[in-house]
Symmetry: C2
Subunit: 273 residues, 2 copies
Amino acid sequence: MSIDEKETAPIGVFDSGVGGLTVVREIARQLPGENIVYFGDTARVPYGSKSKDNIIRFSKQIIRFLQTKNVKAIVIACNTASALALDDVRDTFDLPIIGVVVPGARAAVEATINHHVGVVGTDATVRSKVYTTNITDMNPEISVVEKACPLFVPLVEEGFKDHPVIEEIIDYYLRPLRESEIDTMILGCTHYPLIRSKIREYMGEEIQIVNPAYETAMDLKKILKRLHMENPQSEQGYCEFYVSDAADKFKQFANSVMPYDISSTKVINIEEF
Amino acid sequence: MSIDEKETAPIGVFDSGVGGLTVVREIARQLPGENIVYFGDTARVPYGSKSKDNIIRFSKQIIRFLQTKNVKAIVIACNTASALALDDVRDTFDLPIIGVVVPGARAAVEATINHHVGVVGTDATVRSKVYTTNITDMNPEISVVEKACPLFVPLVEEGFKDHPVIEEIIDYYLRPLRESEIDTMILGCTHYPLIRSKIREYMGEEIQIVNPAYETAMDLKKILKRLHMENPQSEQGYCEFYVSDAADKFKQFANSVMPYDISSTKVINIEEF
């Protein structure tokens, strides 16, 4: 690609399913001129229970697919894949690739005053301790407490984000964090920003809530600027959606997350890439 | 195997994960002398979003694995695999294989008086319409209403079966069924018997609740008797557990379902079979 083609080329964003749409939403907000090609691996979701080897294999297939769309950079909008595959795919592919974990961890390190950080995420993310590792690598004085909230994802996906039970489940999972010393909390799963206001209400105004989707979009902006790859167009960029299974359900969910309606979603066979 | 060896050989039972344990529990209750080898495909759960070709491939791998344990019969303790793979694996393997759908459908056909039957299950099972097809094949006069309750599985797996939110979620999903004419309801997912008493309480005593796990164990009993393959031992049979991933979580859940503690669970690589 020439420099000019690189500027107008789309950003490739992928996730195990629909959660990564919260990252797309942030990119569309903060980098409105950028075009986006999104891939949701709905046939193989969830990644949480899969082995590292498989997550790396899946991620490479997806990046090869996104390359057929001439993407200029990749955002891994999935905590599990960011945690397990980022180093490997960076070694394999010659284009900028960023994940959600490092931007989220760095934002929390910068935000905490009392050096107590909480992380909420899926079972797999919490078990991997990837946020704790990243945070303590950046500042060993910070103590991190991680808490898995496995029901948040199905509740959000089933449309319960405004139903009263969500408050009871939040109380069930987050009470230990509310009673702890933390002053900063990372939403370590791409679904959780969709119940951010409920979490904020429960945890109180004094807790800083870090949304890695926001931080990741900010990082992407900096990288594109540094590499002179920003899209100069003034109108809102396009957004194309691909999934590996069940496009209808994806589209329905996407329309509840994105600020505009999604016109079409294509199903592709990701195993071919 | 000789006839004598066939009598003492174990029953192979499999599911995409832990739900099939409710079927194991029923078999252990009704056929206490039988030995059981259980396989839970925890690395590839859930089956609901996978293609038919994959479900058949997975089921064949599992049956080949169970054959290495010299099983005399197979119970597919998973609604999705019963719906999508039963015919294929029956053509492939030369041993008795039964699923959970037909016994459940037949019990509902026999139970309904007003010819209105409700079915609750996962998204995949409800989308497949497998219960409606089986019931109307048996009696075309019966009208069937199916309702997906996707949150029941994660709620049960996360240990919420006695938490007050389960009642609110039951009300959310089952209100249309309670307000309908149905007199019979099939629990079309192997997890749902674990919240049977809450469902019973909500739906009222006048509704007949069909648990396919119970009906499947009854069918197995009849088939073993007919083939002269019943285990004559008087003590409780043994039960061996195998999974494809994360044995600890399985064991923890199994101990909450089974009437006795599970001593050990082995992880195997199912892709090798």
